[in-house]
Amino acid sequence: MGRWLYVCRRVVGALLTIIAATILDFFLFRAAPGGISNLAFVPGGSPQLKEALRHEFGLDQPVLSQLLHYLQALLHGNFGISYSNRQPVGPQVAEAFMHTLPMVGLGLLIAVLLAFTTGIAAVWFRGGAVDHLSRGAALVLFGIPAQWLAMMFIFAFRDSLPSGGMHDPFLIAPSFLEEAQDLLRHMILPSLTFGLTTYATFMLILRTSLIEALSEDYIVTAQAKGLPVRTVLLRHGLRNALLPVATVLGLAIGTAAAGAIIIEAAFSWPGLGDAMAKAVSQHDYPMLSGTFIVITASVVLVNLAVDLVYGWLDPRVRL
């Protein structure tokens, strides 16, 4: 009963956050000095043209009904028309999203695997070489700008791996295997960059939480029972350390999203981030707004998932 209420609250909260973000987006683009309300006017255009444009964009209607119109359109997947290529934004954003997913997925996998192995090792060999090495690596990676790391990789692998895009355009009639191999070759550098820059946060959080958990009294109880060290470390230590990790992980996803945008821009990976970067340089506001909403919604939903996992991990959660 308590659990279901928790789930409902979280889901409603996430939906409200997404709605609030779209409203924020609406006002940002309309109210700001460089916003749509000014952009819709062609310099030197006749008053009739201005009026027609105002009417076309619905700017002659009250703000509230404009907002409702906008939200209604969004609900139907209608994100407007791109300024740069005159195509609907919706399908473009959807396609970009499908491109981002595998790259970020592989990157996250790299980050989580690395973080768990080195994080646990760092705590177990605390104060030793592994601890210092992995902590040092995390601290250095923490400070490296993603775009810079991307450029270093492009430079280092300029003869062996492709530096941009998703597919080799010169591949003629490839088999499925060849295609997959080609995709992987293109994906490896962006994913690695994403994984390494994200790894630092994950590892440092895991290390701190595990240290915290291992200094609790239930670890004494577990050892006094005569349990083997592995069981105490994993079932009692790590299991409890996962709770704070889950909390911070959700927030780290937002930072990771930032990394993804930059990395995609650097590798011209045709995902959401690249679309956003292009939209900025082309002043393509509908596209910018569309990518913003989709990125925000994804991050909020990932956070929701993390919250739900937390509720499942921690029996004390009720609220």
Partner: protein, 325 residues
């Protein structure tokens, strides 16, 4: 005569410095023995080394600790095998109950799981293990439904009963209790102490009960050991020590503890504070606070000697000797 269940001789525990602090000598030359069914109480104030002594017996000290001395369980010298000898005692013969804070139980696992985990592995089927969970809970006076609960759903007293059940799961012969009732209310505390007493008599369980609560220890234990600054300064049968304490510290501790119905005029505090455990004192560690101290107390550390009450005392001028001239 059979060897005692547990024999500790010349136990020393040091803590190597972690930060800038000096090396600390927490437990100093502690010797005692416990036989089957015996209830030994360790009393003393904070920092006296009670908990460290108990934890040392199971090798549960932090990594910067150094142990030396002799610990024999059922006649076998476990320290000879180094740290691993102590680890082997966990879950086989010796069990521990810690302070009843929320933290002693893992918050994310159900009680049943934490109990099953503590059972000796092998030789038992799933159903038998479940039956044993019910049996253990019943043993400590809890209904079987508790097995499906999480620690946060239980009251402090129930949690402490669960902790005792976990300790009993391995069928130990000796139970170490570290301030096991301190966080509980008086009525609940009395019930838990009653449970411990009952277990001792019915299961022939020996217990070492460390607490700062003198009256409680005196009530539960047949043998009393007073600890001060890492040493056992007096040890003997509870009643005799209570009636004629020989170490000045023991006497003062009794005088500082109010008994129900006693007025304040009978109470006295001990001036001063215990020495820092980093100090190497040539003489008796209680000397600076002792009303009976003489010049010799400052230079000579008194050895543990047999006392007239049948126990032992470490004092150059024990109270009894003075009284008799």
């Amino acid at each position: 005569m059979n060897p005692p269940l547990l024999e500790v001789a010349g136990l020393d525990v040091f803590y190597a410095p972690l930060d800038e602090e000096p090396r600390r000598h927490i437990v100093r030359d502690v010797s005692f023995s416990v036989s089957t069914g015996q209830r030994l109480g360790l009393v003393g104030e904070s920092g006296a080394g009670k908990s460290t002594t108990l934890y040392a017996l199971l090798g549960l000290l932090p990594g910067n600790a150094e142990i030396s001395g002799r610990i024999a369980f059922e006649g076998v010298d476990v320290l000879a095998a180094g740290h691993s000898g102590l680890v082997a005692l966990r879950g086989h013969g010796i069990a521990l109950v810690t302070q009843s804070a929320m933290n002693a139980l893992n918050p994310v696992h159900r009680i049943g799981r934490q109990l099953r985990e503590a059972m000796p592995s092998g030789g038992r089927g799933r159903a038998a293990r479940r039956a044993r969970v019910d049996e253990l809970l019943d043993r400590v006076g809890l209904p079987p439904s508790v097995a499906r609960r999480y620690p946060h759903e239980l009251s402090g007293g129930m949690r402490q009963r669960v902790a005792i059940a976990i300790a009993l799961a391995s069928e130990p012969k000796l139970l170490l209790a570290d301030e096991a009732t301190t966080a509980l209310d008086t009525v609940v505390q009395a019930r838990v102490v009653e449970l411990l007493h009952e277990l001792c008599t019915e299961l022939d369980l020996a217990i070492v009960f460390a607490s700062h609560h003198l009256a409680l220890v005196a009530q539960l234990c047949d043998t009393l050991a007073t600890m001060y600054a890492g040493r056992i300064v007096e040890l003997g049968p509870t009643e005799q020590i209570r009636d004629e304490p020989q170490h000045p510290y023991t006497r003062l501790l009794f005088e500082a503890t109010p008994d129900l119905g006693e007025r304040k005029e009978h109470l006295r505090s001990i001036p001063g504070a215990p020495p820092p455990l980093s100090d190497v004192l040539p003489g008796c560690s209680f000397e600076p606070r002792c009303p009976r101290a003489v010049e010799g107390c400052r230079v000579r550390n008194p050895a543990v000697e047999p006392a007239s009450h049948g126990g032992e005392v470490a004092c150059l001028r024990p109270e009894r000797v003075e009284a008799h001239g």
